[in-house]
Amino acid sequence: MPETVTTPSDSASARPASTSGATIQLENLTKSYPGSPSPAVEDVSMDIKAGETVILVGPSGCGKSTTLKMINRLIEPTSGRIRIGDEDVTDMDPVKLRRKIGYAIQSSGLFPHMTVAENIALVPKMTGWSKSGVKDRVEEMLDLVGLDPREFHGRYPRQLSGGQQQRVGVARALAADPPVLLMDEPFGAVDPITRDHLQDELIRLQHELHKTIVFVTHDFDEAIKLGDRIAVLRERSHIAQFDTPEAILTNPTDDFVSGFVGAGAALKRLNLTRVRDVGIADFPTVTVEDPLQSIFNKLRDGQHNELLMLDRRNRPYKWLRRGDLMRAKGSLARAGQLVHDTVTRDATLHDALEAVLTDSGGRVAVTGRRGEFIGVVDMQTLMNSVQELLEADRLAAMEHEHDLEELRSHRTEQELEGGDGGL
């Protein structure tokens, strides 16, 4: 890349281009710990695409961490090969290898005797970045994970909340801009609300960065939320199913997987679709600044039973029904029902359904980035979309089956014809 001179404002606003993901191929990986009769991980093969988020999910002790740690060779495989971006790294110097692979773990793994900035600076320093480069990078990473650099720079890990520590852990893992990020139950130790935030943040980050992420969890809902593809693992890391969340939800291969998916697969499906993907309907509105008479007229001329009143900044304020004004004796201040819940276009259908179910009118207002009114989603729309979704999933699953079937018979044919024993 040619060197270019950038003005300070340029470099502050635009992030330098980051390295995006690399492919990862695991070939017949096996790990036997000394002294235990059966291997902890047995013959795992997996192709992970560049820029993909793959979740390894499975019961405790099934070998998820062992599998993950073989990718950066914290655990040396007993047999099998690991390729990252077409390079066989099975015999590479592990210290060098690990500097190209971000690693974030459950307890955040921050070094308590170093400040936040020192923790983040570790890998860039080791890989020989210039002093000023490291300094800028630290600020940038803090910014990226949503922490104010001025405030958090000099703090020690124990002065941070669990969620903040986890953010710094992710910042440290990404600091040297590795193409691959390995995460071992990184959000396992924080409270559910913080976990939800951190998951959203990770989705946003990945949207910007396109790293290849391998993420371990035992929480299937987390897997659904974060994964482009999910590998459901059974004991010894045997892959029970490796597919998109949609496919696993609608078409689990066997009882083990469906047991793991748990009850309510259709409900979980709601977490995979966003409000922006379903029909957002128009709704008649008035604003608090409209004259009382025009509001009356609008309600009385029979077209609408209900209006949504917006405040001065176009945010949903009150639901007004025909009759409300009568009962309130013409006083707008007392009439109608305050809007108590709204959703954004990025909310999941699950959130929208929740809001709709708790709303007496059976609908929820959708708002934009500054809270301004966009439209509404109601029960009927949601039901229709969910049914369409499930139907589409079922079709896709059948098609997939069909493809596999064809591939299989094709292979058998070839084997029968060829018979040269090339392998």
Binding site: N72, V95, G109, P112, H113, M114, V123
Partner: protein, 215 residues
């Protein structure tokens, strides 16, 4: 002659003895610390290695220091050599033990994280494990120093340097005019030195233990 008059007339000699006492303890502590941490670093990762290091250093401690010095004299002669050897050996135990305990106490998840982000073995030790084990090591150094203050007095038996000379002279001439004054001066000198060293360690702790892990 009362005690103050004694101090007044002998202060030159006393200061020299005090200085030599402090200097002997300090220098032997430096050697004991380096050796102790080295032994700790070499042995902490192996179960039996660590036990061996702790057992053998504590075996040294069970030998009465006076006897040990007596045994050393035929081997290395009188004066400084037996003093240095005895002080260093006795100073090792608390340091070795605390170093091993401290290094073993480092959270395995942190060691895992250090490996995981690509730190080499040496860097891990210097940047993560030793800094985290430093508070207990420093405690070991403090304990050692206190102990060596007393043991150094015994070195005078082998004609070593330090305040022990005052004490031994006093003990040898019990009943004479200045005997008690001599013993008292030597003992008080050692106590004051011990307190000064301890204060220095508190300061050293402030300066060298990261704020992130200070109690």
């Amino acid at each position: 002659m009362n005690f103050w008059e004694y101090l007044g007339t002998r202060h030159q000699q006393l200061l020299t003895d005090t200085y030599q006492h402090a200097s002997a303890v300090f220098q032997c502590m430096v050697i004991a610390t380096l050796l102790g941490v080295l032994i700790g670093v070499i042995s902490y990762r192996s179960g039996w290695g660590g036990s061996l290091a702790i057992t053998s250093t504590s075996a040294i401690l069970t030998i009465p220091s006076l006897a040990a010095i007596g045994l050393l004299i035929p081997l290395v002669g009188l004066g400084v050599p037996p003093t240095v050897i005895i002080l260093t050996l006795y100073g090792l135990l608390p340091i070795v033990r605390n170093c091993i305990v401290g290094l073993r106490g480092v959270d395995p998840a942190l060691v895992d994280a250090a490996k995981g982000i690509g730190m080499s073995r040496a860097r891990r030790l210097l940047k993560v494990e030793l800094p985290l084990a430093w508070p207990p090591i420093l405690t070991g150094i403090r304990v050692s120093t206190q102990m060596l203050m007393g043991i150094a007095a015994i070195a005078a038996y082998a004609s070593g340097p330090g305040l022990g000379n005052e004490i031994f002279r006093g003990l040898a001439s019990l009943g004479s005019a200045n005997a008690i004054n001599q013993v008292l001066a030597g003992t008080i000198g050692i106590v004051i030195l011990a307190l000064l060293f301890d204060a220095a360690y508190v300061l050293l702790g402030r300066l060298t233990i990261s704020r992130g892990i200070r109690a």
